[in-house]
């Protein structure tokens, strides 16, 4: 993976000094909160339910063992011993003290970590495919480009005060594992007829209040020209994006307002002046950066491991884990292993400091000392020998990281919700818990198979509910947490937005609504058909009818239970070690 040189290190140190001084001036009153707010946001520091929340960047989801240990250390020293991995491959802490910021940032910089531009109206961190470099369907490894984009976007002087946040995702797989269609700019690394590498550029995608799937602005931008081309897109957005209404300030609104042809025309008119100029990426620079991402020193191994095959036949738990949590690797004899952060009873994406340390050690023993974060809030050890799988399974099971539910209903993608986030309208973590409790039969879950359940606590859609096969949106109705359900959303190459099935449900009803949806699926599915494919084949109507036919009964039966449930979930944040992990 990429390692800092003296320039990266120098820049990181100067950033720490700059922000530490800004914190000092805030604490002394020299800076007003209005002036400070935008500065701290660009350093990943939000003001949330419990105080300051710090979002640390995990650029394109890749961390070294040492970096994982640093994060564990920060969790222990400065927070409450655990962190939360987000859908943008970052990690956040919720009880940070402003006074500790200089020390935290210095520790991060020493580990080549930072929190640059993880929030604020600026170019955000670049997200990417968690299987980059190891996926069998990979066309081009996106990581060198992601790192080049990271450097380009870091402290870009022209684009630090955009109308709104600006998210870029890049994927080099045959299958899109970075949800590029719902980003302000989505990049698919592709090859043209001559075998040259370039980018298919999507623009104006995004979720939130106005979900839009991005539109292709260019089918092929040669890699050398990526930075100048992106600069032109962002420049046109910076100049013309709306600044009068935060809800209409994302680039998707501008692209819709102008139309893609006009938007493209403006971008290309701007690009004419910079194309081929100094910001053109050189062969040498690509080669230099790509050298950090060359394939590991893989051993020559047999394609299958006899011991693994034997245990797979004999041990159902191991077989389940293999089936769900282990993915094929492009090198024979190796496998990609997902560590589930969705153990029932734990808030989705949460991990303790001890688990982080253990994962770091496992990565060193089994996977070249690297760990990845997925945008579905799990971890990946990407380069595991098949002959190590049994041992790794046992060790991760002992750590609570081997729940065999990757891609299943309980692998819930979930935002922090109103337990942590000031923007949220409703709680999302307790609903994820309720789902885990309601669907605790693994055989049933395996029978239902691949399904994505996304729970967002508000319209900002941090859990990407619009592209969930089942998407749940928390809304506040007269002080009560209610949940709106949509179905049929999908990410990947067939990305599409889900359709809302109707009026909202209570927290207690929602798991039953999911059960109703699954009933129809089980009744109607064709052999091998996923839930979402059945929804696409049949349309929303039969699902909707069944849910609302049973809903009245559900409401009556669950009314009392709901009241009891709400009471049992009252948060007790006075306890210094309280966590809504359950």
């Amino acid at each position: 993976m990429y390692r800092y040189d003296q320039y990266d290190q120098q820049l990181a140190a100067e950033r720490v000094a700059q922000f530490s001084d800004q914190v000092r001036r805030r604490l002394s009153g020299e800076l007003s909160e209005d002036e400070f707010r935008i500065l701290r946001l660009q350093n990943g520091l939000y003001h949330q339910v419990h105080g300051y929340m710090l979002r640390i960047a995990v650029p394109y989801g890749l961390m070294s063992a040492g970096q994982v240990r640093t994060i564990a250390q920060i969790a222990r020293k400065y927070d409450r011993g655990y962190g939360h991995f987000t859908t943008r491959q970052n990690i956040q802490f919720n009880w940070i003290k402003l006074q500790d910021i200089p020390a935290i940032f210095a520790e991060l910089a020493r580990a080549e970590l930072h929190a640059n531009q993880t929030s604020g109206s600026c170019l955000r961190g670049i997200t990417s495919d968690e299987f980059a470099g190891v996926a069998r369907d990979e066309i081009v490894d996106p990581r060198p480009y992601a790192e080049i984009l990271r450097q380009w976007s870091t402290f870009h002087p022209e684009f630090a005060y955009l109308p709104r946040k600006f998210k870029i995702a890049i994927s080099g797989g045959g299958e899109d594992r970075a949800a590029t269609g719902v980003h302000d700019i989505g990049l698919r690394v592709v090859k043209n007829g001559q075998g040259e590498v370039g980018f298919r550029v999507l623009v104006g995608g995004g979720l939130g209040r106005t979900p839009v799937v991005g539109t292709v602005i260019s089918d092929f931008v040669p890699w050398q020209h990526a930075l100048t081309y992106l600069e032109s897109i962002v420049r046109v957005y910076n100049e013309y994006g709306r600044r009068d209404n935060a809800y209409k300030a994302r680039i998707k609104i501008l692209v819709k307002a102008l139309g893609i042809e006009e938007f493209r025309r403006q971008v290309e008119a701007d690009w004419e002046f910079t194309k081929g100029g100094a910001m053109t990426v050189t062969e040498d620079e690509l080669k230099r950066v790509a050298a950090f991402f060359t394939p590991h020193d893989y051993a020559q191994l047999p394609a299958v491991d006899a011991g693994v095959e034997r245990l797979q036949r004999e041990n159902k738990a191991f077989a389940n884990w293999l089936q769900r949590n282990v993915k094929p690797h492009k090198t024979p004899g190796y496998a990609v292993v997902l560590l589930s952060l969705k153990k029932p009873g734990v808030a989705p994406g949460d991990i303790t400091a001890d688990q982080l340390d253990a994962v770091a050690a496992l990565s060193e023993r089994y996977s070249f000392g690297e760990v990845r974060v997925t945008h579905m809030q799990n971890l990946v050890l990407a380069d595991v020998r098949q002959s190590d799988l049994i041992e790794l399974w046992q060790e991760t099971a002992g750590l609570g990281l081997a729940t065999p539910n990757i891609g299943l209903l309980t692998d819930v993608i979930c935002c922090p919700g109103s337990d942590f986030c000031s923007l949220a309208n409703a709680r999302s973590i307790p609903l994820a818990q309720a789902v885990a409790n309601r669907f605790d039969d693994f055989d049933y879950l395996h029978d239902i198979g691949d399904i994505e359940l996304n729970i967002s606590g508000c319209i900002n859609a941090c859990a990407h509910h619009h592209v969930g096969h089942i998407g749940i949106l928390g809304v506040d109705k007269n002080g009560e947490d209610r949940y709106q359900v949509s179905i049929g959303g999908a990410q990947g190459n067939g990305i599409r937005l889900g359709q809302v099935i109707g009026s909202s449900f209570s927290a207690a009803e929602t798991p039953e609504v999911i059960a109703s949806l699954l009933d129809i699926y089980v009744r109607e599915r064709h052999e091998g058909e996923r839930f979402v494919d059945t929804v696409h084949r049949l349309g929303v109507q039969p699902f909707k009818e069944h849910v609302y036919k049973t809903a009245t009964a559900v409401s009556l039966g669950l009314a009392d239970e709901a009241a009891a449930h709400a009471e049992s979930l009252v948060a007790s944040y006075d306890d210094p070690y309280f966590s809504p992990r359950f």
Binding site: E14, W152, P157, E158, Y161, N238, F273, E285
Partner: protein, 170 residues
């Protein structure tokens, strides 16, 4: 006092801002070194272009291209930041410097604060009029926040990878 070329200097210029009842056509431009709004320049250009020294300022919703062909006439061009979080001025500056090749003084006016000045310098501003309630000596420090930059911009066209030998895999 303003900051020019990284130093605090006396400034003989005044910035003309239109009051509610003023119109660009009728407002009286005082004598001396005055930086007038773009609209006043456009409305009164016949009179103004005869002056020995005249400046013009653009608001964040105005276009650098409006000044194309006239750049030589101005001793100073200013860009107004109505609010420091309004980032359009950075692209205006970039266009003036990089696209239109403006070489004269480019001044940031309005809600100009220390913590934005480094980026302002990068996109081509070489003069700054920090907000009146701020200590200008403190503001000056903002210009030296960083010594390393990844990207090329107006102050340094070459990105880091074209300027130095970067580190390679150990």
């Amino acid at each position: 006092m303003i900051i020019r070329n990284q130093a605090i200097v006396d400034d003989g210029w005044s910035v003309l801002r239109l009051n509610e009842n003023d119109t660009p056509e009728s407002v009286v431009v005082p004598s001396g070194k005055v930086i007038v709004p773009l609209k006043v320049w456009q409305a009164q250009r016949t009179q103004l272009q005869g002056r020995a020294e005249i400046g013009v300022w653009l608001n964040s919703d105005e276009r650098a291209e409006e000044l194309q062909g006239d750049l030589e006439r101005f001793a100073v061009i200013a860009v107004n930041f109505p609010k420091f979080a309004d980032g359009r001025g950075y692209s205006i500056a970039n266009r003036l410097r990089v696209r239109l090749g403006y070489k004269g003084e480019l001044r940031a006016i309005g809600d100009v604060l220390r913590d934005q000045m480094f980026y302002m310098k990068r996109v081509g501003f070489d003069a700054f009029a920090p907000r009146a309630d701020k200590d200008i000596h403190e503001a000056l420090k903002g210009l030296s926040d960083f010594s390393v930059c990844y990207q090329g911009s107006a102050d340094e066209a070459l990105p880091l990878f074209r300027r130095v030998q970067r580190g390679v895999v150990a």
